[in-house]
Symmetry: C2
Subunit: 112 residues, 2 copies
């Protein structure tokens, strides 16, 4: 469920070392991702966008400006660009296991 494998036309790896993998996501209005997983990640938006994030019958709508920073806790979901602008975002994925007990899975970005 690696996003670069299930939706390689949308997710590309722009940097990787032993601690992080950094993905760039880019789509156009109407594009959908296939279901995929994110490890604990920080998202930095490079465009404004509006999206619907779905998993297990739940969904949330997310609207963000360019230059926003959000925590994306480990989760599985699919996304759809429901706005009228491109989505361009950077995901900084943390490779190390999270310290402490597993967190409740969340849906969509939080914090920021």
């Amino acid at each position: 469920m690696d996003p670069t494998e299930v939706s390689p036309e949308l997710y590309t790896t722009v940097f990787e070392n032993e601690r992080v993998r950094v993905l760039k996501y880019r789509d156009v209005p109407g594009d959908c991702t296939k279901p995929h997983t994110h490890p604990d990640s920080v998202m930095v938006t490079l465009s404004s966008f509006r999206r619907r994030i779905s998993a297990g019958g739940r969904n949330v709508e997310v609207e963000l400006p360019a230059g926003a920073v959000r925590w994306v806790g480990a989760q599985e979901h699919a996304g759809e660009n429901i706005g009228d602008t491109e989505t361009v975002s950077i995901f900084v994925e943390l490779k190390e296991p999270a310290p402490g007990p597993p967190a409740e899975p969340t849906l969509g970005p939080t914090g920021g």
Copy 2:
């Protein structure tokens, strides 16, 4: 040597949890940071800029476009905006200790 303490007018914390701290850096041409330290971090540029990064008598010039991603290995340095544009950047700082033996300190961003 925390950048938010030594240069609080330039560095602000935009998100923090147990795994990461995320800083936003913003300056104007001619601005200089005081010497400060970064833990292992990923930098995402939100503007194009040209800077001089200095430490221990060495310096490197860095010129980047907006939307670039670079690894900033743990290091101490000071920076100066030597271009004619604002610098706006996000730093995703990793809070956990690096796995394996300590890396050689580097000066400025690498990779990407």
